[in-house]
Symmetry: C2
Subunit: 224 residues, 2 copies
DNA sequence: TTTAAAATGATAGCTTTACTATTATAAATA
DNA sequence: TATTTATAATAGTAAAGCTATCATTTTAAA
């Protein structure tokens, strides 16, 4: 079965829908690769334009600026994660199983075969690890939030909070634990690979250990 | 008692020691205020130069670039936090009490009267909340790390991990829990104030609730 | 106390970033 | 076939992110 998942993206994320044209798709697809390669700080529309054989102003027709492109890319990832969570927890009733699955999706790269439009899921995951915080850690977070730019992230957080409450309906901090779980999964991955002394995962670079840590954290916190 | 704490800062953080002159102190002191006011992205040495009545190149004599200045400022904060933790846990043997104290220091502004050189601790705390991740979420994290730029952060993380192990010597993820605790404290504060639906603290904006959440998280995770 | 060294101020200049605008050309659609 | 629409090509601007030079002031050593 060859399935292509098309996420409906918030229209405020772009000026012209990048899914609507070949150029748009190249901007996103190659943008992900270039940000992954050189990092968001050094990334510019000019450099991307060279890579995809268009001009700077060509890209500006699709995205207001590079920050918006990043927000778009990160939103893509959260949508994908929520899709995977929903898809994989179908017919599962045991909340423990659901939460383990969530942790599994959060703490690991997403299978290359998932989601069409030839997006490099490995690069996408790495970008989320290193750059996703930057989309909201700004002075304009509140106006961006009013434009619903973070909706995919908030939706996922809500959904996981729901699972946490299924496991223990009396737990009073489901949303905070949910956001902590999401962020910690990614941060521990970053630390493991770049500042390993901040973790207990040494140089093994094994996501399985991160998952064990997160599972222990979540289930002992939820224990009644 | 009027005490002035002088942190010994890693020499690689600066080109010329900002503590060694009036201009240097103004760069740091007013730099904190300006970054707090306009955010790190919009902050430039030129703007800071105008504020403190010097020139751009004057500031470049002290710091290689604005990123290094940020790293310096954040290091200042971690040093201060570790000092406070050490100072306040003197003579306390009960690991539970120590951990509660740590959480209290992490999740709240630092008293204005602490630390001389007229640093605005409130602004410093806010900067750490919004900007501290940016110091290591870069492509040059490993070289920066080799230059020991993150030592204050790693030292604090180690110390807290030690307390966690005092509470439960068999817990296998002390470092990861420590870094998760530190980061979560700040992230929950940011979310509470800017993206409250990611937390359970609503619009109350009360750090006490964050502390309750973190205490519950830590102690239930450490329970044998 | 003079003299040298070091720090600062003033000014200039250079490359890159982050845009905006204009016009020509190609592609899609009516 | 006409006409809207998208893209390419080019130009230009203000600000960011530096580096360099030199005169002047301050500090420290002889």
């Amino acid at each position: 079965m060859e399935l292509e998942i098309r996420m409906k993206m918030n229209e405020r994320l772009y000026l012209r829908d990048p899914e609507s044209s070949d150029l748009g798709k190249r901007i996103v697809r190659e943008g992900i690769l270039l940000i992954h390669k050189i990092g968001f700080e050094d990334f510019t529309f000019k450099k991307l334009a060279t890579v995809i054989n268009t001009t700077e102003s060509g890209i500006y027709r699709y995205f207001e600026n590079k920050h918006r492109l990043l927000v778009y890319i990160i939103a893509l990832y959260w949508n994908l994660v929520e899709y995977l969570v929903v898809f994989n927890t179908q017919n599962i009733t045991d909340p423990e199983k659901k939460l383990k699955l969530v942790i599994n999706v959060l703490a690991d790269e997403i299978d290359e075969s998932i989601a069409g439009n030839q997006i490099n899921n490995k690069a996408l995951f790495q970008i989320v690890i290193s750059e996703s915080n930057k989309v909201y850690l700004t002075k304009h977070v509140s106006t961006d939030n009013k434009e619903q730019l973070f909706k995919p992230y908030k939706d996922l957080c809500s959904r996981i909070a729901g699972f946490l409450l299924e496991y223990n309906p009396t737990y009073p901090f489901a949303r905070s634990l949910s956001s902590t779980l999401i962020e910690s999964a990614h941060l521990q991955y970053f630390f493991m690979n770049n500042l390993p002394s901040l973790t207990d995962f040494g140089k093994e670079k094994d996501t399985e250990k991160i998952k064990k840590f997160l599972e222990h954290l979540v289930f002992s916190t939820l224990k009644k």
